[in-house]
Amino acid sequence: MSEHLILPKVVLVKDAINPAYDQYLKGWREEAIRRADEGDTAASICLQATLIDLVLYGKPRHAWNEVMDEYLTKDDKPLAYSEAFGKRLHKFNNQYRQTTVHAIHTRWWIERLNDSNAVDHERFATLVLNKRQEDGLIYDADVSETILRHRMKAELTLSMAMAVEILRAAGKLTGTLPLELSTSITDQRKCPALGYMSTEFFRLKALNILCHVNLFPTGIAEHVEACAEDLDVGWCDFSMKSKVDAYMGTAKRTQRDKPIHSPLIACYVAMLTEQILDADKKAKALDRLASYTRHLKRNPLDIPAFQMRDVPIRFGADKTPIEMICASHLITQCRKET
């Protein structure tokens, strides 16, 4: 039975996918294989394609580990993008050569999936420990020099969660290290609680692995409620009211942006509700979750994309393999309860 850190409680087994997504996922997988045959691939593509293999066929059906060996390795380090993938952006040049925490974790996860006994956990642990910064956090400062205040907080907490999962497997979470990492990821000066559901879920996941869930910041119930505002169903990753221009210091430029609901974010909220102490607020969140899963069951393709202001053109992706896997999980849960 396989699970992945970014898909909480989603069991990746054969036929775990709703039939409404079957065709899309098979098409996505075929395209990923076709491009990978030409050397055009990325760690995120290998990961999503492997997830699809698991929910469609119950096991990896394509040798993504060999694809990663051939195109996503440089000096024995995992790469996020292949050289050909780097050419998808004009003049991206050698910037495709990135050994990110995500790329390290993806390689580790896929190797473990193929043969858990053959994985050199020590090697992966060394790679992530080399990413530890002076501020105590673990992130890709070598990829971009963006200062801590301007770094996406979801990057900080996701990198930490992925890193500590590898460190746990390597038996490195000993002595004072778990507490040091836990206090760093909950330090409000380094990683403030801004109410992003993804950020808070990854923080919770990291603390869970580090056995210091008691350090999780208070007030998640209010953030969960704020992310549901102006939506008929589900939750947005963040509250639109909290979205202000970082430099202008005003919401004027963002006031016409619209929130969107997402199956992935609903899965994160499901985990975060466990941290809600107020019984009424917790019940309200769980009711909304049940209502959202019923909505998805009736409308499985209602997975929207962001829009920029009043322009009706999709701003970024809407339906993705990860969203569809999460939606299938929620619909299955809904079926079990009814």
Partner: protein, 94 residues
């Protein structure tokens, strides 16, 4: 002004995000043409280079072109237009 260049200062390094916004940028360029692909989409889509997160909350498409031709074109224009009234355009315009 954010910087680009080979070092990539200011560029978003996460390629997946830049690529998923590429479609938006090309469709925006097509939008006023009702069903016809714009020259930008047709001939220059492969020149799409990156996204710069500015924090302004308003997306925009920036065009950049080499200024090499301008260095020849504008002096030529100045000589052609003002050649009869200015004795030495290379100095008297400055």
């Amino acid at each position: 002004m954010l910087r680009g260049g080979n070092s990539g200062d200011g560029k978003l390094r996460t390629m997946e995000i830049s690529l998923s916004i590429k479609e938006w940028a090309l469709e925006i360029a097509d939008a006023p043409l009702s069903g016809v692909k714009s020259i930008l989409h047709r001939d220059y889509a492969d020149r799409y280079s990156h996204v710069e997160p500015t924090g302004a909350g308003v997306a925009r498409i920036d065009f950049w072109a080499s200024s090499t031709l301008c260095r020849w074109y504008f002096p030529l224009l100045m000589f052609t237009v003002f050649g009869n009234i200015v004795a030495d355009p290379t100095h008297e315009f400055y």
